[in-house]
Structure formats: C-alpha cells, structure tokens
C-alpha cells in the first residue's frame, strides 16, 4: 500500500498493452474460473502456442495463476497429461500517478466509523451517493431509457454475470476493505447498489445480500422474481 507504484505492478500493467494478452486476460476473467490453453486461444482467435506463450507471461507477471489438472474422467495410463489451467490471480495490481494511497485512508475511515458505531449513517450516505450516480447516468440518456443495470454495474467494476434470473457480481470492488470490515463495508455496498437502482428508476428492493464465497455478497434479482 505504498504510494509509489512497484516495478512489479507497473510491469503487469505494461503487459496488458498488448491486445492479444488483454484479450486472453479478459477471457480468463470473464470465465469466472479456470480456462485451458485451447479455450483461451479460441476466444482470442490466436494459435494455441501463441496463447500459451502469452498466458504464461501473464502468470509470470502475477495477473493469472496456473494449475495443472486432468480434464475428463479418465484415470491411469491413457488418461493423458494433466492440462495447464489459468485463473485470475488473487492479488491486486495498482498504480496511481501521482502516488495516491486511498486504501490507507479508506481503512482509517472504516475503522473510525466502526468505532463510532456509525453504520446507519454510512448506509444512508451510500444510498444517497448511489442514487445521485444513478440519476446522473439516467439523465445522460436524455429522453431515452436509462442504461441497463448490468452495464452500470459492469462500468463500476462489479463484473456482473447472469445466473438464471439473477444478476450476480463476480468482483467485489472493495475486497480488501470488506475482508477487514465485512459488516460495515458489505452493508455500505448493498446501499450503494440500492441507491443506483433507485436513481436509475428501478426498484431498489431488487438488490439483496446473498453472501457466497468468491463473489460480491450482493445479488440483483430480476423485477419479476423477488423473494
């Protein structure tokens, strides 16, 4: 959390300048799980060998993680070599210029809100901020329909994906903070999304807290399928 971007972070970001690498990284991220070399090559429209080369570069840079696993049910002789699979690395890459350390400030502020027991005040502020952002987005489209929730959440880094009628969120934009202050930060996040929906002219009740491992704890239900 030092202010100055590390060589490692700058190298990782530089790596993504290459469009093939960016496409491969994007495909692995969007899959939400593990991707084989063949799958990644196909998605990026490049040869398998080239995909493998770039995927391994992304692993080296700490953007992806690789595991070996046997695909299919066959065991023993004839089952073939285990496949190399890629998934997004857990760590976070960041570089802000000039140096800014908002995360340090966020942790201090969260600690203070927690100490002060100001959960409800934070939730109200988050609801207001979300609603304001939602109204602004809706106003940008003029007389036309407000932008779809899925696109708004994607633009804010939530990485939404469809799960039946529900919209689930693969990424928690506040992951480091919510790991340390789950009650405070997950509630704040829910209120932000409730506010966004409200500002977009949608029912805020569609956003509910449904925690599960490895995703944001908020789910947005379709308006026809509420609890």
């Amino acid at each position: 959390m030092d202010g100055t971007p590390s060589d490692r972070d700058l190298a990782a970001i530089g790596l993504l300048q290459d469009p093939v690498r960016r496409a491969l990284y994007g495909h692995v991220v969007a899959s939400g799980g593990e991707v084989s070399r063949n799958q990644a090559a196909e998605a990026a429209g490049v040869a398998r060998g080239l995909a493998a080369f770039h995927l391994d570069k992304l692993v080296e840079a700490g953007l992806l993680e690789a595991t070996f696993r046997r695909l299919g049910d066959r065991r023993g002789p004839g089952a073939g070599r285990p496949a190399k699979l890629y998934r997004r690395a857990a760590g976070q890459v960041e570089a802000t210029l000039p140096p800014r350390t908002y995360e340090t400030a966020a942790h201090l502020l969260a600690e203070t809100v927690e100490q002060a027991g100001a959960d409800l005040e934070l939730q109200a502020a988050a609801r207001r901020a979300g609603a304001e952002a939602g109204r602004r987005l809706a106003a940008e489209t003029g007389a036309g329909p407000a932008p779809p929730v899925e696109r708004v959440l994607a633009a804010r880094g939530y990485e939404p994906y469809r799960d039946g009628d529900a919209l689930r969120l693969r990424n928690c934009p506040f992951a480091n903070l919510s790991a340390e202050f789950p009650v405070l930060v997950c509630a704040m996040n829910l209120c932000l999304i409730e506010g966004l929906l409200d500002g977009l002219g949608q029912d805020p009740g569609r956003a509910v807290m449904e925690p599960a491992p490895d995703r944001c704890c908020v789910t947005v239900h379709s308006k026809y399928n509420q609890d």
Binding site: D119, L120, Q123, P182, V183, A187, V208, M209, P211, C217
Partner: protein, 151 residues
C-alpha cells in the same frame, strides 16, 4: 497436542426491550439464524436455554446486555458462518437494535475439543482482550491467533 476447538463470545447492548417493536426484526431472525448455525459445517455447540437461544441470559446484571457463546471446529468454519451466510445480512442492521460498546464486544479463544466454556469464562476472555489487546488467550477476527500456544 490434543485437538482444539474455537470458542467465541459476543455481547450486545439492547437499544430497546427485546419484546418491543424496535427489536421485532432481530427477534424474527433468531430462530432461522440459530438453525442455520446449528446446521453449518464445523458448528459444535452454542449456549442456549430451553427457549432455544441465549436471549434470556443477562450475565452482567444489566438487563440490556445479552450474550452469545458458541464453539466451532475451526476459525475458518466460524468466519464462514458469520460473514458468508444470511448471518451477515442480519448483522447489517446491528445498530438499529444494539448500542455501540466502548469495550471489546467479541472475543475468540481455543478450548480443548469436547469441552464447552462457561459464561464466567467468556466474561474473563472479554476482560483479557480489553486489558491486554489481542493475544493467544483472547483474540478477534481481525487479529487472529490461529494456534493455541502450548506450554
């Protein structure tokens, strides 16, 4: 080293009487969330009276302070229940129901598997945490001590 389980205590100060309208939302969640705990992986034991929960127990001689005491197989099992189930959804309303406490309101410590702590012991762990900060004998989610120190 004998197997160890994780004990947790937390206390909470009611903002209003438990049977009043202010606490109705909390009371409504007691049974489903306790059932969820009982069925959670790694759950071992929780303090309860014949009502099925611990809300009748007021260990501080102050009618507003309630206690919650439980034992889990591991730190991870307890953490998963507290922060990655419906329990989290209930906790986000905590300030509607409970006042902020200046002293530590939650303590964790290791107990020999097969034993359960008393309320008096739990109170002692909270005092330890208040006096010395997190250590192997009383710690928190944010400052865990993942293995008991053997002597």
């Amino acid at each position: 080293m004998a197997a160890q389980h994780l004990a947790q205590v937390n206390i909470a100060t009611l903002r209003a009487p438990l049977d009043g309208p202010e606490l109705a939302g909390f009371v409504a969640e007691l049974e489903p969330v306790n059932a969820l705990a009982d069925a959670s992986p790694g759950f071992v034991w929780r303090l309860q009276t014949e009502d099925g929960d611990a809300t009748a127990i007021r260990p501080y001689g102050d009618d507003r302070i309630m206690v919650n005491l439980s034992v889990w197989e591991s730190f991870e099992a307890l953490r998963a229940f507290v922060y990655a189930t419906r329990h989290l959804e209930v906790m986000r309303h905590r300030r509607r129901w409970f006042s902020r406490m200046a002293d530590p309101y939650l303590a964790l410590w290791w107990v020999p598997a097969g034993t359960v702590p008393t309320v008096a012991e739990a109170k002692r762990r909270l005092e330890l945490l208040a006096r010395h900060g997190p250590g192997p004998d009383a710690f928190t989610f944010r400052a865990p001590f993942l293995r008991s120190v053997t002597r």
